[in-house]
Point group: C2
Chain length 276, copies 2
């Protein structure tokens, strides 16, 4: 059964909230269908599939063509289990046959500077760290879109930042390399139901025209989203207390809400990023 | 004239460097074709196209469903000219009919916490800043893929970080909002030739298996890439002195190589990111 553009838009924003645009392509249709999947069959991702996924990842833009990123493909069950522990015990990190760990990587540039006998003082700055993180994120997003087009599913793993030094040790990262996030990949174990498309806020919440405007201009959209998400929680039998707003506020309450990541700045210094 | 998978791979990696994988889809084919375009016709991007592009952007994953990003669509010629100045005088930032400025946005979450009368101390941490930047980057990459599928072209603008406070003032950004990068969008003004697909390094340079390994393991791949890029510079009549390695090393030599971005950490503090 194939869904119309309007079906796709309704799943993404809640029914009746946005007319599907006339501008529509198979690529847009594909991207709209994204779902984060957390249950996998053991069937492997092939090397041939991985080659195509990485080619898509490398086709993303990279700042000043510096290629300030790398990725580690982890298939070893022991390493996956250790990474799952680092990431707060998420079972799908252990169970998915492939974990891609996306790295902000300034070690290659440091090595190139050494080889060409040139200084590399800029690597110590916040800006270069940010270039690495953004390069990695653009590459990763192409990778997940490519993987999903091959019938695979995936999920970003921010929990890879819970214990950055331990992840670095597990993966043998040299100084100036940081695991920005992970990504589980594999075939969905759909069981009784496939993972759902999660609704997003109405476009006026995130899209501004010409200037940002007052934050309170977003209130009507946020209210709509709280209603759409209440319906989503119910449809998924999710036991979420309070609205999306309350749920989100809880996630940013204090240092303890960050599941260890309140010490990320310190960890980055330890990993060779002075962040000047 | 439609290109085969092998043609696309050859353009991306240099001829004869990688056999096309058997795993290939229209989405992968599309992503492989990415080109950064820096010359535009004045024809506008329609509101309908923008709706589709933003729907694709919002369909990307967002950490803990916090939506820690926003985007500003700038069409006003005066603002585009000012942004172009901020970004080091890049003519295409002025000339492209649409500039999307992608924001790490923690202001919405601060506002939601206020509304729900809850604390939001976690917003002061490096981790939350990083969530905003990564969320924005994932959304942006979906946006550019979607735009390109509509026949539009684009280019990321890291120069938006050259003068962060001035960009914030121009766009009326509230505290806790940072313009991570821009993106020109429009129809390519092909003139005598369309912009070329820029080659990337062989996969073993960025793709590691199980563990990172020694950085020097990448030397053979870097050597290949220097050769491929020499051919590319020549084919494009680009006057690049030295290899890609030398060119890259020059970009990271010192604080002055960062075109103002050596003060990014200070600018972020000024914009309401304590980066604890």
């Amino acid at each position: 059964m194939s869904l119309s553009a309007q079906d796709k838009i309704d799943l993404r924003y809640g029914p009746g909230t946005l007319p599907a645009p006339a501008a529509w392509t198979p690529v847009i249709d594909h991207l709209l269908g994204h779902r984060s999947v957390r249950r996998y069959r053991p069937d492997p991702v092939s090397n041939d599939q991985l080659t195509a996924i990485i080619a898509a990842a490398q086709s993303a833009a990279t700042s000043s063509n510096l290629h300030a990123w790398s990725v580690i493909a982890v298939r070893d069950a022991g390493t996956r289990a250790s990474l799952a522990e680092c990431a707060g015990g998420q079972a799908h990190v252990r169970d998915a046959p492939l974990q891609l760990v996306w790295l902000a990587d300034l070690a290659r540039l440091a090595h190139i500077a050494e080889q060409t006998e040139r200084p590399s003082a800029a690597l110590d700055y916040m800006e270069m760290f940010l270039i690495g993180v953004i390069d990695a994120a653009l590459a990763a997003q192409n990778a997940i879109a490519a993987a999903q087009s091959l019938g695979l599913s995936g999920c970003y793993i921010g929990g890879m930042r819970n214990q950055p030094e331990r992840v670095a040790e597990l993966l043998g990262l040299p100084p100036r390399v940081f695991a920005a996030f992970g990504m589980t990949l594999g075939y969905e174990d759909a069981g009784s139901a496939t993972a759902a498309v999660k609704p997003r806020a109405p476009q006026p919440v995130v899209l501004h025209h010409e200037r940002y405007g007052a934050v309170s201009d977003q209130d009507a959209g946020i209210e709509t989203y709280n209603r759409v998400m209440a319906g989503f929680y119910e449809s998924q039998n999710m036991n979420v207390r309070g609205t999306w707003s309350v749920h989100s506020a809880k996630r940013i309450a204090d240092a303890a809400s960050l599941t260890g990541r309140d010490r990320l700045a310190e960890a980055l210094h330890n990993l060779g990023f002075p962040l000047k």
